[in-house]
Symmetry: C2
Subunit: 385 residues, 2 copies
């Protein structure tokens, strides 16, 4: 097991009605809040009114940045940080899914910096003492509510960049599974794929001694496989929404990675797809994942796929190893397909045109589970067409 | 799933040589440290010298409280808090296992209170702003390095009381698995039983919706079952020591309990055994656990025992449910026995004399997995003779 530092300071309030803790959480930081959100879903669901009413009753002044895009843009970050600077904001409150939270994180960083926001995105070591970040989660997917990451896009240059900085971990997150009842079916499916992909990125590690981490990864994968379809077919099933929401945080908050570090593979490849075509991140991941698995399956990686097959999918240990591995990959594909995720790039409007150009934007991933070079990535993209 | 608050602020430095972070961690709190430890094991292992040398080099003044007993006494807490008050100590540093850390926690609390330490033990709501607590863990067992609990004994009144207070979570913990290489075989076995008991206390819950928590509990149990015997037979096996150490923290740091609350059963019963007879806590737990399982197995609890048998012990799902459950309990017994833990009360010098008196000291546990009243506890004690 590798050495590691584990620090998880986000204070989580989980469950129905936990929004009642919002005023105490915010007032702990100050009285001026920037509320960051996307489209109208928090207005339709009543969450917006609830936040406003709680803040009003508690003398908290709210400024707003709305219209954050699903792949949040650097322009939103710039606009948000400008509001913070002009109004002496004390805390940035995101209400939404990963996009709003990611955007809020970078706003909090840029609000306390003289640099342009994009400079902080490409070099997070320049982030110093950001404003405190609080999130109210409405979508189980990216895990941004409890992690140090943010992904920001500059559509002018087709760049989508992932930022990782411990200072960006939210101070508190309010996670009420009933807020996800209204998440559309497509988003529920894509969110489940996103959670699973985060788990896979840590599970397929070359650190052999991370037994405990591997078994926990399998526990989280089983949770997604059980509850993804239930939430998809029965959107107001609280048990399913709660398990998915809590799994989304643990997939990426550092526990699976601690002692078990490996460089991610499928995410960087997907980031190019959505940077060029603005497709849903989780859909891109679902398309690429089984192809990546098929591509990296070999003599060296076989045993891990066998564990995956037996421990996650319950495939009989009496079968041949190769058969178990292939069945596990096939089950992964079929699982995403069962959630009606389009499972080819063509179905989401992507053809060969930019594939080679995309691979040129991704650094080779030499310390990955299986090293990936540009030609490998191109093959995986083509397998996904 | 029940509503919950999850907050885990302990900064963990895990791995070989992580002691190098000690000076920065301590200096973050101040320059005057009270070092709390037990017998001479940290002197024999060289850890004591290393701490002293690191502190000297970094101008940190060290005061000492040694001789903390395996079931830490209230007298040690009083002595430690006196040193803190007289010398204006900034931070309490425990070096050892759960006993030293538990003692340090209550010292930190008593040092900032005008009340007698025992008053804080019996009513932790009176604990206000304790001194910061830092731990260097040398034994994988109680999980005190990352949890809010401390267990303190008053041998004059045969009282052993568990304290739970969020303010007592260590600010930082240094966890170097190689420090546990020298743990005696008996302690390794008892520590493994202690970790497993913490997991069982959450796993056997009546909250049916905690699927994810249950699967993670199984992941941790599998970790103990794999590595307990390896560490027992090959004490310097780093992989085994690392997995056990990290599992010890996660068994009780709140993750398994979050959303899944249930009142503990076996721990309160064991606390009386060690309060009266000063036996090793983990040994008492190992003796009581399979008897408790046998006693609470019935039509209502059968399914959980079946899950335990299949998911943790890999028992074939094709067997009859009752057979799976019984085999799982038998495996639990045999596992502890394989670590040479004495598996009857008689073997640790306990006969019927005080059993009834002990049950009179435990409150009935009505909200337990299966409610336990005095007569139930007496039966379980007698099954364990």
């Amino acid at each position: 097991m590798n050495n590691f530092n584990f620090y998880l300071p986000t204070n989580v309030y989980f469950g129905k009605g936990q929004i009642k803790h919002l005023p105490e959480v915010l007032k702990d930081c100050g009285n001026k809040v920037l509320l960051v959100y996307g489209g109208g879903s928090i207005k339709r669901s009543g969450l917006y009114d609830e936040i406003m009413s709680l803040c009003k009753t508690n003398d908290i002044e709210v400024f707003e940045l709305s219209g954050v895009d699903p792949n949040p843009r650097i322009e939103s970050v710039r606009n948000g940080s400008k509001i913070c600077k002009e109004n002496d904001i004390d805390v940035v409150l995101a209400a939404g899914g990963g996009s709003s939270i990611d955007c809020a994180k970078m706003i909090a960083a840029a609000a306390k910096s003289d640099l342009d926001a994009w400079e902080l995105v490409i070099d997070p070591s320049k982030i110093k003492e950001p404003l405190p970040i609080v999130s109210i989660l409405t979508l189980a997917a990216t895990g941004s509510e409890m992690d140090p990451f943010a992904v920001i896009s500059d559509m002018k240059t087709n760049m989508k960049v992932g930022v990782g900085c411990d200072l960006l971990k939210p101070k508190a997150s309010i996670m009420d599974p009933s807020y996800t009842f209204s998440v559309p079916k497509k988003q529920t499916a894509a969110g489940t794929a996103d959670i699973m992909s985060h788990i896979f990125e840590s599970y397929f590690s070359n650190v052999k001694e991370g037994f405990m981490q591997s078994r926990i990864a399998e526990a989280l994968l089983k949770t997604c496989i059980k509850y993804g379809p239930i939430a998809y077919n029965d959107p107001e099933n609280y048990e399913a929404r709660a398990n998915l929401m809590w799994a989304s945080s643990w997939a990426i908050n550092g526990l699976l990675k601690a002692g078990n570090e490996v460089e991610w593979c499928v995410h960087p490849m997907e980031h190019e797809l959505s940077a060029y075509y603005d497709i849903t991140h989780g859909v891109g991941l679902a398309i690429l994942t089984p192809r990546w698995m098929e591509y990296v399956l070999n003599e060296d990686t076989l045993d891990r796929f066998v564990e995956y097959g037996m421990n996650v999918w319950g495939i009989s240990p009496h079968k041949e190893k190769e058969e178990i591995a292939k069945e596990a990959i096939e089950n992964t594909y079929k699982f995403f397909e069962s959630l009606d995720i389009p499972m080819t790039l063509k179905e989401v409007g992507i053809d060969e045109t930019h594939l080679e150009e995309m691979t040129s934007k991704i650094d080779k991933i030499e310390t990955a589970y299986k090293p990936l070079y540009k030609e490998d990535m191109l093959k995986i993209y083509k397998m996904s067409l």
